[in-house]
Symmetry: C2
Subunit: 310 residues, 2 copies
Amino acid sequence: MRSRIPGILGIAYPILQGGMIWVSDAGLAAAVSEAGGLGVIGAGGMPPETVEEEINKARRLTSKPFGVNIPILSPFAEGVFETSARLGVPVLTTSAGNPMTFTARAKEAGMKVVHVVSNVRMARKAQDAGVDVIVAEGYEAGGHNGFDELTTMALVPQVVDAVEVPVVAAGGIADARGMVAAFALGAEGVQLGTRFLASTDSPAHPRYKELILSAGDCATVITGRAFGPVRVLRNKLAEMILQAEREGMPPEKVQEMIGSGRSIKACLEGDLDEGSFMSGQVAGMIRELKSAREIIQELVEGYRRIAAEL
Amino acid sequence: MRSRIPGILGIAYPILQGGMIWVSDAGLAAAVSEAGGLGVIGAGGMPPETVEEEINKARRLTSKPFGVNIPILSPFAEGVFETSARLGVPVLTTSAGNPMTFTARAKEAGMKVVHVVSNVRMARKAQDAGVDVIVAEGYEAGGHNGFDELTTMALVPQVVDAVEVPVVAAGGIADARGMVAAFALGAEGVQLGTRFLASTDSPAHPRYKELILSAGDCATVITGRAFGPVRVLRNKLAEMILQAEREGMPPEKVQEMIGSGRSIKACLEGDLDEGSFMSGQVAGMIRELKSAREIIQELVEGYRRIAAEL
C-alpha cells in the first residue's frame, strides 16, 4: 500500500477508526490501535473530565498512538482540546467546524491533526490551516453528514486533485473491497465507523449491534436534511422526524422534538424506538460481529488479494 | 480485467455509455461502440419512428454491437421495444420500471438485456426476470435517480453479493480511478454518462458541455426528491424547483411548474436558465472535451496503470 499515513501517524496500517459518540471509548480505540490502526476516542458529548479518564484508560490499554475526536462546534470542544494537548494525545481529529480553531495550537503541542471534510472547499481550507491528514467523508457515511451530499466515489478524487496532504476516504467502506476502491480513487487510507461499531470491542448496546447485523441495504435515512443532516437507521424516531419534515415543521421545532440524549438512548440503553441509531449505508454488508483485530487483519489481507486480482 | 461483460455483449472493453435523453443519439452511440465500448441510443422521449431512424443511422456508422435504452415507464416504451426487436438491435438496456416487462420478449428476439437498478431488491428482481447484465447505479449519478439514495460505494458490493449475473457500476465514474474502484467493489464493468456527454462526439448543446467543464464539486442538486428524484446542475430552474419544494408545494404542482420540454431546452437549445441540465457529481472532475475514443482509451490504459500501482 502506497501511503504516507503510517509514517505521519506512527501506525502500522493506514486504517482509522471514526470518532463515534458514546461508541468509540477508550476500549474500542485501544483495540484498534493495538491491532495496528488508529483508534480514536470520540469526545462528542463528553465533558473534559470524562475525556481525561478515557485518555488515561486508553494509555493503560495500549502504548501505541491513538487519537481524540473533537466536533469543533461541541460546547466542550475547548476544554477537551486543552485536556488532550496537556495529556500529550498523539493525534487530534477534528470535524464539524473551522479547522483553524485548533490546528496551530495542536501542532505546537506536538499533536498530529486529522480533519474531516465533505467538499473541496473545506479540504483546501483544512490544508491552509496546516492539518496533516484530510479525511474526505462521503454521503453514505453514518452520523453527521455534509450538506453537499457528495459521495465517496465523487468526493475522494476531487479532494485528492485539490490538495497535497494525504487523503483518507470515509463513507461506504466496510471491507477490503471498499479499501481497495478508496486507494484506486487516490486515497492513502480509510476510515471506518459502522464496521468498528459492530465489533466485539465496541461498547455499543447489544441491540444496536443487532440492528446493524440485521440491516438491509436501504436501512438508513437522512434526518435533519435542512438544518443538520444525520444518517441513522430507520426506526420510530427517524420516521417521526421525517414525517415532521415532510409536513414542513420548522427546523427549530424539529430539533426541539428530537431533544437531547437520543444517542445515549441508542448506544447505552438500546432503546429501539426512541434512540438515534447512527449508521452508514454499509450496515447491509455487515453480517457478523468481529474483533477490531479481525477487522483490520481482514482489511489488510483482503487488500493484497483484491489488488493482485485487478 | 476480469469480466464476463465483453463476452456477453460482444464488445472489446466492459465500458457502457449510459442512455441520456437527447444526448446519446446514433452519433455518440456509434462512436462509443466503434471505440470498443457499448454505445447506447437513449430512446427516452423519442417516438418509435425517431428511434428507427437513429438505429439505422447507428448501423451506417458502425458494424459493432450497440444498444437502445428504454425507460420502461415511457409512453413510447412498447413501440420503441418492438422497433428495436424488429431491427435486431443487439442490446436492450432498460431502466425505470419492471424488468419483467420486456426481458423475455427481448431474449426471444435474440437481444441481450441490461437492466439498471438502485437497490438490492430490484437487482434480485432483475436477475429473476432473466436479464444478462445488471447496472447498479448510485446516488451520485446524473439524471433520474432511485429513492433509496444508495451510493455506488455502498450499492455495488451489496448487489454483487446478492446476484450471480455480472454487475456494472454506474455513478461517480469519470476516469480510470473510478473504473478501478468499481472493479475493486466487485463490478465487472462501468457505465459512464456525464463523461460521454462532455465529449466531442455528443450532440449536447455547446453551452451544456461548457457547464460541465466549468462545474465544481458541489454543482449538482437533487430535484423532485419526494416524487421523482433527478440530479441536475444547479441553475435558475433547479433553484425554483428546490424553493417550491422547501415551501411545501405539492408534488403535482411542482411537476406542473416543471412542465415538459426542459431536457430539450437544455440539450438542444442550451437555455441556461430554463433547461434541465442533468449531470452526475463527477462534473467537477471533467475539465476538457475528449472524443469517445480518447475517453475509452484513457480508461483502459489508466486501469492497467492504477491496478498495477495498488
